[in-house]
């Protein structure tokens, strides 16, 4: 088996999970990761759970700047 088709085991998948979700692993590892979770129900569930958790954190507190602040900022840059 050459290195490219070599499988990741469950332990390696879990170890790389957050890096995978953050898009911080190599293209080869992404492929290996996806190949593994397609076949492994448990790792697939762990991945989906943490992907969802990450989305929930991301969407938990969306604040937007007021138009008033934007106007003030633009005004402060007026020459």
């Amino acid at each position: 088996m050459n290195e490219k088709t070599e499988m990741l085991n469950c332990k390696e998948v879990i170890k790389k999970l957050y890096d995978f979700l953050a898009d911080e692993i190599t293209v080869e590892d992404v492929l290996k990761f996806k190949t593994h979770i397609e076949k492994c129900g448990h790792c697939n569930e762990v991945t989906l759970f943490h992907k969802k958790l990450k989305e929930i954190v991301k969407n938990s507190t969306k604040e937007t700047a007021s138009e008033e602040l934007k106007r003030r900022i633009l005004a402060s840059f007026e020459k």
Binding site: Y18, E24, L48, S60, T61, L69, K70, S76
Partner: protein, 191 residues
């Protein structure tokens, strides 16, 4: 157009689309609308003053966030007693999942349903409760989606520290989420 007008235009073109993100981050860090607005304005003025040192083609968002974080440090860091320390466990960032695996939930909610129940307020409250150092890194990584390398630059810490701090921050956040899930009765622990 004169050179300074071009610079002025260019700065606003790069900076204005980021005002919401900057404000959102500043608000989460300070918890107060007025402080957040002041911080954003201060960061923008500092960034404009330093704009000639910004290298074109590099990441403007990471650059301006570094200025925001630095502008904020002196204010919000004062309120923090000391960074939270907790024992470091390699799989800490899987805390919630592991707990839910050992748990019965009411009305046969599965793990994913529990996440839906947690949506919104509990996550917001948990984020407000963790230390500023942890909150800051979660905002940068999971909300603003900066890369590890960019976070390392923004916070001026090594990438290894970014990764270990993130993992501890996630673990701490998940412990709070677990407490909320228990308090609100989404789950009941068998332990």
């Amino acid at each position: 157009m004169r050179k300074e007008e071009i610079t002025h235009e260019k700065f606003l073109e790069l900076a204005m689309p980021l005002v919401d993100s900057l404000y959102s981050t500043a608000f989460r860090m300070t918890g107060k609308k007025m402080d957040a607005e002041d911080l954003v304005q201060e960061a923008l003025l500092k960034a404009y003053g330093a704009f000639d040192r910004f290298q074109e083609g590099t990441n403007f968002k990471a650059w301006i966030f570094k200025i925001l974080v630095n502008a904020g440090i002196s204010n919000y860091r004062k309120k923090s007693v000391r960074p939270q320390t907790s024992s470091y466990d390699e799989f800490e960032e899987y805390y919630l999942y592991r707990k839910l695996n050992k748990t019965q939930s009411y009305d046969s909610l599965n793990k994913f349903d529990v996440l839906d129940e947690l949506f919104g307020d509990d996550v917001k409250k948990s984020l407000e409760t963790i230390s500023e150092q942890f909150r800051e890194i979660i905002i940068l990584a999971d909300i603003e989606e900066f890369s590890y390398k960019e976070i390392a630059e923004i916070l001026e810490i090594p990438i290894g520290t970014v990764m270990s701090r993130l993992s501890r921050a996630r673990g701490t956040l998940q412990k709070l989420l677990w407490e909320f899930a228990k308090e609100n009765g989404y789950v009941r622990s068998k332990e």
